[in-house]
């Protein structure tokens, strides 16, 4: 259990001080607005810290192990997707992301069926290719081809 308000207040105060330190080299007209915002932010952070100490609000961040695991894997898949896009390109990375996230969120009892795997893979391919068609060919948005295919 965390005293969420106090910790948030502390984090805001720390951010304000880091911001203040970073802004020291700026010229007057680049600094003035930043300083006003940082002063307000520090004051509000201080108020939250005091509020947290006087009336603690606790937060249990991870409510359940299975949920946390699912959440962690989703973050991993999304981050992996962003990392793989420039390397293996839009089509492959998107199919992999869609397929793996769909499987992760499917009811575990249904996950054992081969039909489920095939239909999920087919949907992943169709959606990805549809977007490739719309973005690359209709809207002329150059989606990443992938470094490995560029030679």
């Amino acid at each position: 259990m965390l005293n969420s308000d106090s910790l948030s207040g502390l984090a805001i105060l720390a951010l304000s001080f880091i911001g203040y330190y970073q802004s020291q080299g700026f010229s007057y007209f680049s600094k003035i607005f930043v300083l006003w915002v940082l002063i307000i932010l520090a004051m509000l952070g201080g108020a939250l810290l005091i509020k947290g100490l006087m009336r603690p609000e606790t937060l249990k961040f991870w409510s359940n192990e299975a949920r946390s695991k699912r959440l962690g894997l989703t973050v991993l898949i999304l981050t992996g997707y962003a990392a793989l896009l420039p390397i293996i390109g839009f089509i492959l990375a998107s199919i992999m992301m869609f397929f793996s996230l769909s499987l992760l969120l499917t009811d575990p009892t249904r996950r054992r069926s081969a039909r489920m795997w095939i239909s999920t893979l087919a949907i992943s391919c169709i959606i990805t290719l549809l977007f490739e068609l719309v973005f690359r060919h209709a809207l002329l948005v150059p989606l990443p081809v992938g470094r490995i295919f560029l030679g």
């Binding site: 911001g19 999304l78 002329l140």
Partner: protein
Amino acid sequence: MENLIFAVTQIFAPVNLILMVLGGVAGIIVGCLPGLTATMALALLVPFTFTMPAASGLIMLGGLYVGAMFGDAIPAILINTPGTPSAIATTFDGYPLAKKGMAQQALITNAFSSLVGGLIGTIVLLTLSPPLAELGLKFGPPEYFWMAIFGLTIIGTIASDSILKGLIAGALGLLLSTVGISPIGGDVRFTMGLVPLQAGINLMAALIGFFCIPQVLEMVETGAQKHQVIRYVSQKGLLKKTIRELIRKPVLLVRSSLLGVLIGIIPGAGGNIASLVSYNEAVRWSKNPEEFGKGTLDGIVATETANCSVVQGSLIPMLTLGIPGSPAAAVILGALLLHGIQPGRQLYTTFGGITYTFILSFFLAVVFMFFFVALGSRFFAKMISIPYHYLVPGIAFLSVVGSYALRNNLLDMALMLILGYTAYVLRKLGFNPGALVLGLIMGPFAEQGLVQSLLMGKAAGSIPKVLFGRPISLMLIGLSLLSIAWPIYSAWRSRQQHSKITTKEGEIIDAQ
């Protein structure tokens, strides 16, 4: 009169009608896809209209612009993701309505409100263009600064759970808005050495991050069972019933439309600011302000009427003075120039026929779009019945592709994910991402307005005179004070009423 007759014959020419519908449908699709903005779609369409007659090209561009304003609310309502920045405020009540099983009512409300906003905006554009354009030009740096402050006062409304955390989120948004090259001093600020960040944090990437990623993670965390609460409930006669209910809100509809037109006229202030200000005003004047943010049709009416009337508002200074009121209007200005049409007086004299064709085509375009979105609402609403294990990856997919497609920049995509993960943690800690986004939007206006006002004040010998002494500034200061005081007064009044009721009940119990 001659021009009007020419305009009507042009608009009802079959080819132009088809182009209008095609433009409108393309606009709806673009509006629906997070990451694709109306400006981008207009810019893509301009080269295709070059070979068409001027009137046909402008009709198609107008249709697309209107369609995007109708379409951007659809994902905002169904998946809590604004299609364009103009639909941020629509998520406040749209998504809660979808969660209550009222997605179709929300979509019909969007269509009807956009229709009313579009019609009122077009009437104003047709009749009051020149005097309103002059009013927009009276906005100098101090007025922009106070308008940003007025916009920020909405935090009191959207952060109803904790004003303190709402204010912190707003200040964090203001701080984020300072990333990049300073608009006046020219210093590079908080970029951590990353060159693409010098242009600042891309608003659309931030919006997708703040709204879509926490949504995806929350859906993953709560799992399929809880997600099944969001279901499409089919009802007969819903279109008529909803419209009948909306017609009973004439003040809200007209006020929000006029606010949209007025804000559209101010160069640089687009649909996002218009819809936020309109939402704030709707809360202030509502008899039931506590219902806002929990799923009320009034919230959608306020944002979508303003969002749609902004289109015509932004065209007023563009057509009369050659100053575009929004980036999308700037693209249309480019299209006019490509066809050899110069904005200004001659638009209403030499090119009167084409100008009136363009203006009057909005009447028809909004009616077409209304029928398209209202009648299609049933099908759009069914989107939320897509199985959870396909819907979540679908939103994630759209978020990543949308953030990349903005500038074909992988950093925008990475930034979107980082901001999204941060927003998820902030949401858990009780901070409102809406307030953070508000700070991010208003930040550049506030900073530029403040620093330029300080410069003006130094040159004039009195900073307070420049900041506090101009009539429009004074009006905006008054409105900001009213906006801050109103929630406090409302809370005090409701406490008073509550204590009266409690006392009465106490007396009754005593008497018994």
